[in-house]
């Protein structure tokens, strides 16, 4: 019990990923006209929004995962799906 309650929380990871995530979103909003006009060209440019979605999901996904863990919201300890 003591082991689980004193488990180290990923505060550092949350802060780093959070800063990167905020930087990504700030750039997105500051450069929105450039991004939309480029992505609207279609064709091979179609890869750009898809790559961008992967990049955002990696950094922001890591941040949100750590965020809930730091808040103490984690998966139930014992219960696992029965196969």
């Amino acid at each position: 019990m003591a082991q689980s309650s004193t488990k180290k929380k990923p505060v550092g990871a949350m802060i780093v990923m959070g800063i990167i995530s905020i930087a990504l979103y700030t750039t997105l909003l500051l450069k929105q006209d450039l991004l939309n006009s480029t992505f609207a060209k279609g064709g091979w440019y179609a890869l750009l929004p898809v790559i961008m979605a992967f990049v955002f999901s990696y950094f922001h996904g890591s941040f949100t995962g750590s965020f809930w863990t730091v808040l103490g919201i984690e998966a139930a300890r014992k219960k696992k799906e029965v196969k």
């Binding site: 979605a53 955002f56 965020f67 696992k80």
Partner: protein, 359 residues
């Protein structure tokens, strides 16, 4: 035409609105494997986003969201990657065919005909499948067998008993070999529904549970793999025509990644039948929302008498409000079930510690 006209101006309120709807949609998706899109697409359109851009931007937020959700639930042992990929590939074909049908209907009957087709598909499918899922959840609740392990039904056992040489594949979620001749039409139907009403999971999850015999937790988690495959293919298709508004997609993603992690965590606290409760309830409520719009489209097509503009507006607003209610109710049940599960875990933990201390 200026292609930039497709992209709306974003202000702080719009950003917060998209973030909020994304969060609630993500929460429900993380729990039942799909959902949210039926509110997000009309929600974006209500902001002035053209229909196709709304569909494209929704797709572009859906696949990274589904990826993060699938990875999270994979950690909990709930994802059958092989089943997800097999169904996902045939779902992709279903999406393309469904979009083709949509285009044909729109060409022949115009916007009203297309909208009527979508609404009727919503009503018929949600009434039959949603009603069945909800009835099943109710039966489980009434029987008091909520804690017992889910077993495959008669249809699933029959499907598992059919041996077609050269087509049999073992799936861990089902713990049996099933012919891909069964999975292909199921995936195809999931994709067609995704192209029609934007939520393929309303067919995908029940078909995995009742036709293939997968447990509800695994079915809902595996749906995220299907959603990833479908969303990735769909995003590329729309992006090739320059229809993705990346700002909308990423802002919705910002909210939905908070939600999907929470929804995924929620599945580890609840009894499996809760997946059916949430899914069935949302489906049946959304059915009423879309049902309200059927007379509007019938009137536009001249099949019934013309309706007053104020009546049309009232029906549209009520329909949208019911959809939001469905999503919020789903989110509320997930959070409540999660809270109760966490409290029960704490109690169990405390009593365990007490017992340990007595020894």
């Amino acid at each position: 035409m200026d292609i930039m006209a497709n992209f709306i101006h974003l202000d702080a309120i719009t950003i917060l609105y998209l973030f909020g709807v994304g969060f609630v949609g993500g929460l429900v998706s993380g729990f039942i494997g799909s959902g949210g899109a039926f509110v997000l697409t009309p929600g974006m359109m209500s902001l002035g986003v053209p229909g196709l851009v709304a569909v494209a931007s929704n797709m572009c937020h859906k696949f990274p969201k589904a990826l993060v959700g699938a990875m999270k639930r994979f950690k909990y042992g709930q994802v059958d990657v092989k089943l997800g990929l097999v169904l996902g590939v045939s779902a992709e074909a279903g999406v393309l065919y469904g979009a083709h049908i949509q285009e044909k209907i729109k060409l022949a009957f115009g916007d009203a005909g297309s909208n009527l087709y979508v609404s009727v598909a919503f009503v018929v499918i949600l009434a039959t499948v949603g009603g069945f899922v909800l009835r099943d959840a109710w039966k489980t609740y009434k029987s008091g067998n909520m804690d017992t392990k889910e077993t495959a039904g008669k249809l699933a056992l029959w499907v598992q008993s059919i041996n077609i040489p050269g087509t049999m594949v073992y799936f861990k979620s089902i713990n049996a070999r099933v012919s891909v001749l069964f999975t292909i039409p199921l995936g195809f139907a999931t994709g067609m529904l995704a192209a029609t009403i934007a939520v393929g999971g309303f067919i995908g999850v029940p078909s995995m549970m009742y036709v293939l015999g997968a447990p509800s937790l695994m079915a809902s988690a595996t749906e995220l793999v299907i959603a990833f495959v479908m969303g990735l293919g769909g995003s590329l298709k729309y992006a090739m025509h320059g229809l993705v508004d990346i700002r909308l997609a990423m802002i919705i993603l910002a909210g939905s990644l908070f939600g999907i992690q929470l929804g995924a965590i929620g599945t580890t606290y609840v009894k499996p039948f809760m997946i059916k409760v949430v899914m069935g309830l949302i489906m049946v409520i959304v059915l009423f929302s879309r049902g309200l719009m059927v007379p509007v489209y019938l009137a536009q097509l001249g099949i019934i008498d013309k309706m007053a503009d104020s009546t049309v507006k009232l029906l549209k607003t009520t329909s949208f409000a019911i959809m939001i209610f469905a999503l919020l109710l789903g989110a509320f049940i997930v959070l409540r079930a999660m809270w109760q599960g966490k409290q029960a875990e704490k109690l169990q933990h405390a009593s365990g510690a007490l017992e340990h201390g007595e020894i």
